[in-house]
Amino acid sequence: MNFWARLFYNWRRAWKALKLYGIIAGPGIIVMVADNDAGGITTYAATGAKFGYSLLWFLVLLGPVAFFIQEMTVRLGAVTKRGHAESIFHGFGPFWGWFSLVDLILVDWLTLVTEFIGMTAALSIFRVPPAITVLFVVLIMGTMIVRGNYWTWEKIALFFCAVNLVYIPCAFIVRPSVSAILSNGLIPHIPAGGFTNGFFFFLMANIGTTIAPWMVFFQQSAVVDKGIQEKDILWARIDTLLGSMFTVIVAAFCVIVTGTLLRGVDIHDAAEAAVQLMGINAYLGTLLAIGLFDAGLLGAICISLASSWAFGEVFGWAHSLNSRIREAQWFYAFYFFALISAGAVVLIPGAPLVLITLFVQVIAVTLLPASLVFLIIMLNNEESMGKYRNNAFQNVANVAIVLAIVVLSTMYAISTLFPNWLR
């Protein structure tokens, strides 16, 4: 074969592979980018303002952590064709099944409220009343599913994922010192001041935003709803890997923005950071606010679906985005009920929103260890997983990651309950 023929052959192969990836891509990128939800962006903004670039290396480490966990949901979903809630019922019986389902619904609903808090705060910067924001969000999310087509929903969600990249131009606008990022940010070290309680609290907060229970349930159900087969696992893994890289990039650029301009400022929420940045550079503040709204919207899109899928799987309702509303009435009723009720809470004057924001972390850690431990046990079940079960390396890596997440997220929850314990 001459040079040109070989080049053409390789180009055709690469193009075919890219087209195949384009078909399978979606769940991994969406779940990972949605991981940078309103709470996540707040944590990154506060981390940058508090520690500058000093914790960038830690965010980079969290990419592989998220990938290892989420990759297991891909294999489990593709091989068993069951969502995570149904898998727990099937594998561990009704006690753990009901515990996981009820806890998931509670955690998801509370997290949904926090997404609405983030979205209303973001648009209030543009003087949009909260009621209009809630209505706007419900309309967007209703439009996404009304056609009864997974493909349409996924492409719109991917568009919102692309908007999440808004933090990259933000970081270029602030013109950070590249040498400072490389030397101070990407080389692992403890920031000046040492291993203080505050530093430890921020480490835990960043881990807490990296893996949330809804992510495990969402991606496994999305893999099943999309119809990903065993032969597609490689591409779905690549999708998850790319997603984990995106999530780290977005987080890092958000830290770079606040680390450059708001260093030393105490930031309590991302909207506050946007307001502060608005005073320095109106474009920056605007982009940060748009990014925060988008982050909350992406979180809301995935979280409300994670709950509806889980309920549909267990109760045996039609629970696919490919079903029209009249074919899967309970699935969509649950979706809209969660969405509208969470949005309504934000509109109640004097609602304990701060308490809800704090409480959600605590409730999340009642479910996180169980769902991660179940994931590892199910991935070691030779009978159902066959050649796709965890190998020794995956087990060592995943058990170490799960132990670290369980310990640190539990400490984070305890420090939220008892603030004087660490700070």
Binding site: V365, T366, T410, F418
Partner: protein, 69 residues
Amino acid sequence: MGEPFVGIVARRIGRFAGATASQISAINKKYATPHIEITPAVRAALLFLRLYLLALVGLLVYKFVTLVR
């Protein structure tokens, strides 16, 4: 004279609760047998999870009681 509105609502709620209860019992029956092989490692992991949850619920109750006081 027709049935009062409250009566209709109560009857419907009752019917819905009954249907949900029978659905839950059908789910319990369907998944009554766990399909994961309970090895000593799995048993230890499940025991750890139960103790972990008890400890966490204990902390939440303690926090609630101290808040109320």
